[in-house]
Symmetry: C2
């Protein structure tokens, strides 16, 4: 079991942190608002701690669980403190009215966020295709990931498996564009054909 | 049961036509190469016919089963002959090396193809997230669709159900962008995490 650091204390941070704690990892919650971070750590129990916002996180895997609109600022606030870390980008960079993606042509939120990170940090896209409340319910879900660095991807795969998820590699970090489109598609499906937000995208092999 | 027209006679046209014929519809195959269209109609049996390339198809639902690179030309070849039809766009507009999408920013293959159609034709995106060989195997698969025209979408939904598929509406035709990204993601998954092309994307609700 490892120390897993989570930057953020919102809905998605809470859902992921709960599953991480339940799997036996030690969660470090790092938030701009120390009171909110403390509240989440207390809620998690299981030895969860809080870290100092902007300082080097305790975990080697750092889950960036802030909205896309705040991701660049958060990464800038940490700067060199994230060097050497595996950064898990979970954001769905959707417009406020959920009608489309706000990313530049030929890029993804993950690739944009990566631009602000120190050279020794490696970004892995994950978790953006699982709704937080579905993740919190438990169960073996498919977890699509994309990353350029093979070692970082392997470490996140092992971590996802430890949570009871099935990691499925879709390719390099540029493929985060497809995962973010899938996130938007799931929002469209919830509002249209599925008629519910209570669903998961899974792969039936063979 | 209805007459369903299919423009094209390649791999995907064959897979869809087989399933359509098996469901009891009459397939009209329309191809630029009459011999290939004839061969596919003969292979299908079940009263399958061939139509004249460029003339008005017999079916009210017309499946445009040509590669994206040839879609605009095919639509131009038919011109006004497609007026009033429901056009099912199945293309995955991927680059020849499968590394990305070739569509302009903020658009999809379906939206680009729609620009060449008469005003009375309605485009529905469908079938692009199901591999042809998986479709041909049979079984109840999830079929994501996107379209602007409610009546055309309803007719294609009913048609998909008649094939034993589960239609799932993701929204307006602009959401074809997400379906085409999902098509690319599935290619990435086949080449990476799944290690096989023998899979389907399904939605687990509830």
């Amino acid at each position: 079991m490892s120390i897993i650091s989570i930057i953020g204390s919102g809905t998605m941070a809470t859902a992921i942190a709960g599953r991480v704690a339940k799997a036996g990892h030690t969660v470090e919650v790092v938030g701009r608002d120390p009171a909110k971070a403390r509240a989440l750590a207390d809620q998690l129990g299981a030895g969860a701690t809080t870290g100092t916002y902007g300082a080097a996180p305790a975990g080697d895997i750092v889950i960036l669980a802030v909205p896309y609109s705040g991701a660049a600022a958060a990464v800038a606030d940490f700067g060199k403190a994230l060097d050497g870390k595996v950064i898990v980008d979970i954001a769905n960079p959707v417009a406020p009215d959920l009608s489309g993606l706000v990313t530049p042509h030929g890029s993804s939120g993950a690739q944009e966020t990566a631009k602000g990170l120190p050279a020794g940090a490696h970004v892995v896209k994950a978790f953006n295709t699982i709704f937080g409340h579905v993740l919190a319910k438990g169960g073996r879900l498919d977890a699509f990931i994309a990353a350029d660095d093979a070692e970082a991807k392997a470490r996140v795969s092992t971590f996802l498996e430890s949570l009871g998820l099935r990691p499925l590699d879709v390719g390099g970090l540029h493929m985060a564009q497809t995962l973010e489109a899938l996130g938007l598609m799931m929002i469209g499906l919830a509002k249209n054909g599925a008629g519910t937000w209570d669903f998961a995208m899974n792969v039936d092999i063979g």
